[in-house]
């Protein structure tokens, strides 16, 4: 069998009429939703402690004390859950020449006119940006977060370092929330995307439209294409 260049082991043509393509396995989906749920809990609890006007959100967790206790543990959970995603996905998120062309035509992407864009593998430059931004920000957040984890690491760093850590933690948190909004919005705006993380499959048309190189590779492996 040919070496995979644009697809992940497990990606395959699931049905032929109509065409559906398996994009994420059950384990990956479950783990993604664990990451997502953790991120939402972190976002809500973190925002509650970030701005006084949002402190009321601590009630969702049973008060300020519980929120303070819960937030770092969920952070650790997210770190490990995302680590698994990272190990699975990093290779296909490495930048490729066609990403440059894609970014240059971002205006057409926003208009939904993908005809003139290059054919793409499993991820476009926007998805890659989300992936790497999440990766970097999560590392920054876990590192700075441990430094300000009063309950277990009160003396890990000096107080001046702790001041920087809390500032960096809040800046990184704002950044990751922006990336999160971008990620969710792009998934909704690009119709047919969300089922990749719910059912695990996308339609052939979706794959043709957005990730043609990926589809071609899978068709070459599983279809009655010229490869056979």
């Amino acid at each position: 069998m040919e070496k995979r260049l644009y697809s992940q082991p497990g990606d395959h043509i699931e049905t032929r009429a109509p065409v559906t393509v398996s994009r994420y396995r059950g384990f990956t989906r479950a783990n993604h939703w664990l990451t997502a749920a953790s991120l939402i809990v972190l976002l809500v609890s973190g925002m509650a402690l970030f701005h006084p006007s949002l402190y009321g959100l601590t009630a969702l967790f049973g008060g300020g004390q519980v929120t303070r206790w819960l937030h770092p543990f969920v952070g650790v959970l997210l770190f490990f859950s995302f680590l698994v995603l990272f190990l699975q996905l990093w290779r296909l998120n490495l930048p490729r020449p066609e990403d440059v062309t894609w970014v240059e035509h971002i205006g057409e992407v926003m208009k939904g006119e993908e005809e003139k864009l290059p054919e793409l593998g499993k991820y476009n430059a926007g998805q890659k940006f989300v992936f790497w931004a999440m990766s970097v920000l999560i590392v920054v957040l876990i590192a700075s977060g441990v430094m300000i984890w009063e309950q277990y690491f009160p003396h890990l760093v000096s107080i001046p370092v702790r001041r920087w850590a809390v500032l960096v933690h809040s800046l990184a948190a704002v950044a990751i929330i922006l990336v999160f909004i971008l990620h969710v919005y792009a998934a909704i705006w690009t119709r047919g995307t969300i089922r990749a993380m719910t059912r695990g499959t996308v339609t052939g048309g979706w794959a043709w439209r957005h990730h043609r190189k990926w589809l071609r590779e899978l068709a070459g492996r599983d279809g009655r294409g010229p490869a056979e």
């Binding site: 260049l5 032929r16 009429a17 109509p18 065409v19 925002m47 402690l49 970030f50 701005h51 006084p52 949002l54 402190y55 008060g63 300020g64 004390q65 303070r68 208009k111 939904g112 993908e114 300000i148 009063e150 309950q151 009160p154 107080i159 001046p160 702790r162 001041r163 809390v166 500032l167 809040s170 800046l171 948190a173 704002v174 929330i177 922006l178 909004i181 971008l182 969710v184 919005y185 909704i188 705006w189 690009t190 119709r191 047919g192 339609t203 052939g204 048309g205 979706w206 043709w208 439209r209 589809l215 071609r216 068709a219 070459g220 599983d222 279809g223 009655r224 294409g225 010229p226 490869a227």
Partner: protein, 330 residues
């Protein structure tokens, strides 16, 4: 200097407290600032600013203040162990709000050995870093008389007060996960009594009264010290934090660091100001704008939909394999 109950605060810690029952004289209406409560209503009245003056030159290191503090606040500091230094416990703890810090100093000018003993504890800053950093509404309050107090039922134990404090004072309890520090005996001051440490001090190195009286007293002490050859004697009332309601007379006011690392020019760190100022405001605004922006784009802009043509192309590809247009297969 009396403890007349008609006064809004005791003018001394030395005399005995009033015998007639009196209502607590520090209440919610006396709060001028509270953590994470930017829209606090203004206080109902202005109390006379109070202060505790610690005259380091008079201190004999007896630790009566520590004992009185633990006694009054009903804390039970752990029985310590001796590591060859006089500090006991070795640092401020959630059960020990004040600590005599001992430093040995060989004065290069006089060649004399000096024992500099400083009673460490909350300075009750006019601009408190703990209060600025605290995320829990009403967990840290400042009264119009200058006392900065932790309201423990509102504390969530995050330790941000430690991050904010320029003097490294607050300590979070491992037992109840709430932060503790000197209250300036707000509960005593409220009923006409001076702080327990000042009351217990045998040499009156610790005195309590209005800030004005204490400054006058401190100036007289500085003059006295100067007449005894301490040319650099002075008052340590750090203006970087807006002045403090606990302040020192030092024999070497030009070198506060000699006194177990008393900071030269303490102020709320610019990092903390940046975190609690522009980051908080701009950060929330950016998140809000992104959320609203994406909803608007979702409502107004055309979604990116997969067409029938796309589906057809995919079927062709999977069934028959369409050679890739134009480019070579990589």
């Amino acid at each position: 200097m009396t403890t007349d109950p008609s006064l809004d605060s005791p003018r001394t810690a030395v005399s005995n407290p009033p015998v007639q029952p009196m209502k607590a004289n520090l209440g919610p209406g006396d709060v001028i600032r509270a953590s994470a409560m930017p829209d606090l209503p203004p206080p109902e009245r202005e109390l006379t600013p109070v202060a505790k003056l610690i005259d380091v030159s008079k201190c004999i290191g007896c630790k009566a203040c520590q004992a009185a503090c633990a006694e009054w606040n009903d804390t039970e500091p752990e029985i310590g162990y001796n590591t060859g230094v006089y500090e006991n416990p070795h640092d401020l703890t959630p059960e020990m709000f004040t600590l005599m810090r001992f430093s040995e100093y060989e004065n290069p000018e006089s060649g004399e050995f000096e024992w500099l003993i400083r009673k460490d504890g909350c300075m009750h800053c006019a601009d408190p870093g703990c209060l600025k950093a605290c995320p829990a509404p009403g967990a840290i309050v400042q009264y119009t008389n200058g006392i900065v107090d932790f309201i423990h039922e509102n504390c969530i134990g995050c330790g941000y007060c430690i991050t904010g404090c320029p003097f490294n004072i607050p300590r979070v309890s491992k037992t109840d996960h709430r932060s503790y520090k000197c209250t300036l005996c707000s509960d005593r001051v409220a009923v006409g009594q001076g702080p327990a440490c000042a009351k217990a001090c045998p040499t009156q190195a610790i005195v309590f009264g209005t800030k004005e009286d204490m400054l006058t007293h401190a100036e007289a002490r500085v003059e006295d010290l100067k007449s005894r050859g301490y040319d650099k004697a002075g008052i340590y009332d750090p203006q970087g934090v807006g002045g403090a309601h606990v302040f020192y007379v030092l024999h070497h006011a030009d070198q506060p660091a000699l006194y177990s690392g008393l900071p030269e020019d303490p102020q709320i760190s610019p990092v903390v100001r940046g975190w609690k100022g522009v980051t908080k405001t701009i950060g929330l605004a950016a998140i809000g704008a992104a959320a609203v922006g994406s909803v608007l784009h979702g409502l107004l802009a055309r979604a990116n939909k997969v067409s029938q043509q796309d589906e057809h192309e995919a079927e062709e590809l999977v069934d028959h394999g369409i050679p890739r247009a134009g480019t070579e297969r990589v």
